[in-house]
């Protein structure tokens, strides 16, 4: 999947990026519908509007590479290659879910696909991803560790301590900040006076890069450089992707008390999937038919995942104590 830096993605890759974004989007819209109709327990935070980040970053990853995610992690899991069935079944709390129903939305683990977990704790993934990179460095495994985190995590001590350690040890990790301007209802500009995340790289002496997180090709290119640097022993990068969630913080939050209709609408205009398709077709790099095929496939893929999850069995009550202890 790796390509030389700078080269423009070929048509196959353009279609992969589209497919990835579309799957993430359609998956979340379905989850929203299922959650609202009371089919899913727990709480869900949807990735709608931010698909270009996961797609652009994960396009470069090999199966052995490791991704550490957040509370808003369904998209990261799917983009890293976890089957839709495994993710959807976990949201249902079914035994066939990627965490056997023990985890749920914020505790999805699929190491078999290099997916090291969504996380209920903001900032927790930062030291974990850094540590996974340390392990990769020790084992000379050639793995790269990716840490997705939100703007909300930037003000936490976990960010500060982790990025410093990753830099001091020159670890193969990429810190990908999904700056969607809000942490729940808290505007990043209220939480700190420095609203540039990339600029903070100067405090630790690692490269800091800012890109338009709604432009999948921009993310793809910047991520390619950062991942290549990590893989080639060049150490970590802080990559800030400016984006926006066009839904509420979690299902149940209308997401409009603290954001203006205008902002929301203007960001909807910048929908990463619509814009990408529009640009590709108008420049004739990809045909509308090719995109439409993907739309159809994606629908089938999603229906299959939901059917699988719905028809899967619940865990057996008596197994509750299994896996508290390793071996």
């Amino acid at each position: 999947m790796m390509q030389a830096i700078g080269t423009v993605p070929d048509t196959a890759m353009l279609l992969d990026l589209y497919q990835c974004m579309l799957r993430l989007r359609d998956f979340e819209v379905k989850v929203q519908e299922l959650y609202r109709s009371g089919k899913l327990p727990g709480f869900v935070h949807l990735y709608v509007g931010e698909e270009a980040v996961a797609a652009g970053v994960c396009a470069w990853l090999e199966p052995k590479d490791m991704v550490f995610s957040t509370h808003r992690g369904h998209g990261h899991a799917l983009a890293k290659g976890v089957p839709g069935r495994d993710v959807m079944a976990e949201l249902y709390g079914k035994v066939t879910g990627c965490s056997g129903g023990r985890g749920g939305s914020m505790h999805m683990y699929a190491p078999e696909y290099g997916f090291m977990g969504t996380n209920g704790i903001v900032g927790a993934g930062l030291p974990l991803a850094t540590g996974a990179a340390l392990s990769a460095q020790l084992r000379k495994s050639g793995q790269v560790s990716i840490c997705f985190f939100g703007d909300g995590a930037v003000n936490s001590g976990s960010f500060h301590e982790s990025v410093n350690l990753g830099t001091v040890w020159n670890l193969p990790v990429v810190y990908v900040c999904e700056n969607n301007l809000f942490a729940t209802e808290m505007a990043f500009s209220r939480a700190t006076k420095n609203t540039s995340v990339a600029s903070r790289a100067a405090s630790y002496h690692l490269p800091g890069v800012e890109v338009d997180g709604n432009d999948v090709l921009a993310v793809y290119e910047a991520a390619g450089e950062a991942i290549a640097r990590a893989r080639n022993g060049g150490g970590p990068t802080l990559l800030e992707c400016k984006t926006y969630r066009i839904v509420g913080h979690h299902e149940g939050d209308p997401g409009t008390d603290y954001r203006t209709r205008e902002d929301l609408d203007s960001w909807k205009q910048r929908d990463p999937i619509k814009c990408f398709r529009q640009k590709m077709t108008s420049t004739e790099r990809v045909s509308a038919e090719a995109f439409d095929d993907i739309v159809r496939e994606t629908e089938e893929w999603l229906n299959d995942a939901v059917e699988f999850a719905r028809n899967s069995p619940e865990p057996i009550a008596e197994t509750v104590m299994d896996h508290v202890w390793a071996s």
Binding site: G42, M106, M186, D257
Partner: protein, 329 residues
């Protein structure tokens, strides 16, 4: 409804106490995430920002360590402070400030520096929140000299104990239960507060004393009703504060019934249930017809699956079964 009483939710009872105390002393400040314009993730500060403004309701970003330390420093400097971790789980980010600074400073300063702070957080399991958002480790704080620990089970106790907590000159852990916030209860219409260290007999009985706190009091009451049908008379007692603990009231009840069961949402190992167990034997060994019984959550992280979590946390059915079994044995 009794007269002189009115109905209110558990969460609104807290808001009332906060409003009264913040109006009473303008040197009282509230710090936390989403507690300003948003009115709190659980609506636990609804309306306060509109009334007291940005200065006294301090929204922060995600920095429990800094926010909790800031709250402690403000208290050391002479303000009264409530710091809200929102989910008790998130206090794990700030333990060093809670244990090393809040709990120690009054003692280590030979009483020269007071730390009038209420550290608030909602514990326990609710709607399959999962293993990161369902902790019930309130006994840790009881194990830490210098901290008072409040674990209210109903609206009336939330209001009365919150007022006492805010007026206390030392650090108070105020630990509510996420699943109780929307539960309704009756509270007095007049102003009141409830002193720490006074247990409440929630229901009188003669065969067995059932000790529980927080949400488990609900489970205990339902179990008591069910057990009555089996001819077993249960006395339910809620200590309401773990520190200070009303040993006398619990002992008196046990002496009366001759038996005690402890119901806990936390796992048994090294927790609250063992403490009440010890209390029972230390105070009433010769009055006990049988060893105390512990009915606790199974020692596992909280699973997401409702089927599994229902197996883990004590249910009314399980309490009924275990108490019947212990009495028939």
């Amino acid at each position: 409804m009794q007269n002189g009483m009115r109905e209110i939710t558990y969460v609104d009872a807290g808001v009332e106490a906060l409003r009264e105390e913040m109006a009473r002393d303008e040197n009282t400040v509230y710090i936390g995430q989403g507690i300003g314009p948003r009115g709190g993730n659980f609506r636990q500060t609804r309306g306060l920002w509109q009334e007291f403004g940005d200065h006294r309701l301090r929204d922060t970003g995600i920095c429990e360590l800094g926010a909790t330390g800031v709250a402690i420093g403000a208290a050391m400097a002479g303000s009264r402070v409530i710091v809200d971790e929102v989910f008790l789980d998130f206090i794990l980010e700030a333990m060093t400030q809670v244990i090393q600074q809040a709990a120690k400073t009054h003692y280590s300063s030979n009483g020269k520096i007071k730390v009038p702070i209420v550290i608030r957080g909602a514990m326990g399991s609710v709607r399959s929140a999962g293993s990161h958002h369902s902790h019930a480790f309130y006994s840790w704080f009881a194990h830490t000299p210098g901290l008072k620990v409040v674990v209210p089970s109903c609206a009336a106790d939330v209001k009365g104990l919150m007022k006492t907590a805010i007026r206390d000159d030392g650090p108070v852990m105020f630990i509510e239960h996420k699943a109780l916030y929307n539960s309704k209860g009756e509270i007095p219409t007049h102003e009141y507060s409830i002193p720490f260290g006074e247990a409440r007999i929630c229901r009188e009985g003669s065969d067995v004393t059932l000790v529980a706190v927080s949400k488990m009091v609900q489970v205990a009451m339902e179990a008591a009703t069910a057990l009555e049908k089996h001819g077993i008379s249960v006395e339910v007692i809620d200590p309401r504060t773990i520190v200070p603990l009303d040993r006398a009231a619990i002992a008196t009840s046990i002496r009366k019934t001759g038996r005690v069961a402890i119901l806990d949402e936390a796992p048994a190992m090294c927790g609250f249930s063992g403490e009440i167990f010890a209390l029972a034997c230390e105070e009433c060994f010769d009055d006990l017809d049988a060893p105390p019984l512990r009915i606790c959550s199974l020692p596992a992280p909280n699973p997401f699956s409702p089927v599994l979590e229902n197996q883990m946390i004590p249910t009314v059915e399980r309490v009924v079964r275990e108490i019947r079994h212990s009495l028939e044995a």
